[in-house]
Symmetry: C2
Subunit: 289 residues, 2 copies
């Protein structure tokens, strides 16, 4: 954890003004960290709303034009589009520009984005843990990152000055920053984020296939367990694609634990099942402490 | 859905003054549906707190003594103890007493409890969908059942008068009552409640076994998906035991859906994975409407 430095950007470009992108803009503005914010997105209607609400000062439907002259570019598109959009703004990035992203996948993606950057432009990856099944500017707010963990993933290619600025950006937005190797990031998030999404999608599909209409009887348990199954299928398809190998590993581990419980059920081993449940309860209760 | 009738009980006995039992007592009192409430439980300390807070008027550490003379007995112990505690109060039940329960399992249990009842005593099973990972009187409140679905499970042996009273009890407590065959109840709740608990326990154990300490990075997704893994291992061991066959069935269905996603990952079938996710998203979003 670095100490918070002072930063100020004359022009910030937000590439992708969804929930996270709009919240980054609002946080930067509320904390007085920039002069002008320009938004880029695919839907003009959404960009117009962002301007009307004061989330951005201007917008442009051309990514390169939106980026020209920016001191800070924050890439907030779904992860599957990050590389292409970065290639499309490459020529518009001026020397000294700082680029970061907010993607849920790091690892190889960080290496690819570093590779695309022109000389003199720094890229440092970020992942603020502040997403939800919601998307769109309707739920955006400057306080979204307050108290949220923000992973920053420097590499051997990152300049210390650029890393410090990205750390300061999130800390000044209220986030709790932790630096981490991008590949280690993907191992951890396969387990605590990507696997739970797959499990939630599979649970909902199991309910639907086995007994359509039964979900009408769901209480808080089913609702909470499957809340993230309302998340964007396109986004999560791309996250699965980009973290495939880690995901297959943790899926194996999950299946192993599930089969252990199934075995107890089949063998009427109630002491065994209680042992599994107790182990999980203990760990789960420790998270909320 | 029956229309709400008028009911009044001179003496109510709550067997098991945990979250649900204490909330039933508070609801009955707030709605003016009874004169005296007597509590039975295993821990005197807990019963004392219940009396101090006005949840019960009296308590007794002997279940039969607590039950003597009651017009209504509400069985609120963990499901694994329901049969034994009913046997222990059998001799104290007077003719005309109405007995119901709040257990998450019905099916064979309802038949067993009906069988234990003396002549002239009616048992009608209930399951208010108002539990959570919380337990204990600290979280109890009379409004716990307001807007909550309450399943009532009459059988061919149930008298219409007794069923109507149990329906009225929950409706006057704010619940949305639905009558259902006890075995059908267990099929549905295997899918929307018991399976999600097993999945949540297995997810937490997978995280712990694969990468201890990683849960510290969990965001809302992991926390929500595994919230119910903080539930009582003893209670859920007994629910698994009592709904074992339905649970093994729905576990098979869940594994099938999980393997379908795994197959897509292994074969890099990203259109296939998006199709699975979209199907789940559509159904999940329909629940909250």
């Amino acid at each position: 954890m670095a100490s918070t430095g002072q930063i100020y950007f004359d022009k910030v470009t937000i590439i992708g003004t969804g929930l996270i992108g709009a919240s980054v803009a609002l946080a930067l503005r509320e904390k007085g960290l920039c002069r002008t914010i320009v938004g880029f997105g695919r839907k003009e209607e959404n960009l117009k709303r962002a301007k009307e609400r004061g989330i951005v000062d201007e917008y442009n439907l051309d990514a390169a034009a939106a980026t020209g002259g920016a001191d800070l570019v924050v890439l907030c598109t779904p992860v599957g589009m990050l590389k292409d959009v970065t290639v499309s703004i490459r020529a518009a990035l001026k020397k000294g520009t700082l680029v970061t992203d907010v993607g849920s996948v790091k690892g190889a993606l960080v290496a690819e984005l570093e590779f695309v950057m022109p000389n003199g432009v720094d890229f440092v990856g970020s992942h603020p843990i502040a997403g939800s099944d919601k998307s769109g500017i309707g739920d955006s707010r400057g306080s979204l990152f307050a108290g949220a963990r923000c992973i920053v993933t420097p590499t051997l290619r990152s300049s210390k000055a650029a890393v410090d600025k990205v750390i300061a950006l999130w800390e000044l937005s209220g986030g709790l920053v932790e630096c981490m190797d991008p590949f280690r990031h993907d191992e951890i998030f396969a387990l605590v984020s990507h696997l739970p999404h797959i499990v939630a999608y599979a649970l909902v599909n199991a309910a639907e296939r086995t007994d359509p209409g039964c979900v009408e009887y769901s209480g808080g348990g089913f609702r909470d367990t499957t809340r993230i199954a309302a998340s964007s299928p396109e986004l999560w398809r791309d996250i699965c694609k980009m973290n495939r190998d880690n995901l297959l590993n943790v899926l194996d581990s999950f299946k192993g634990n599930l089969l252990k419980i199934e075995q107890c059920l089949k063998e009427n081993d109630w002491a065994g099942i209680e042992k599994e449940f107790s182990k999980a309860q203990k760990l789960r209760m420790s998270i909320d402490k």
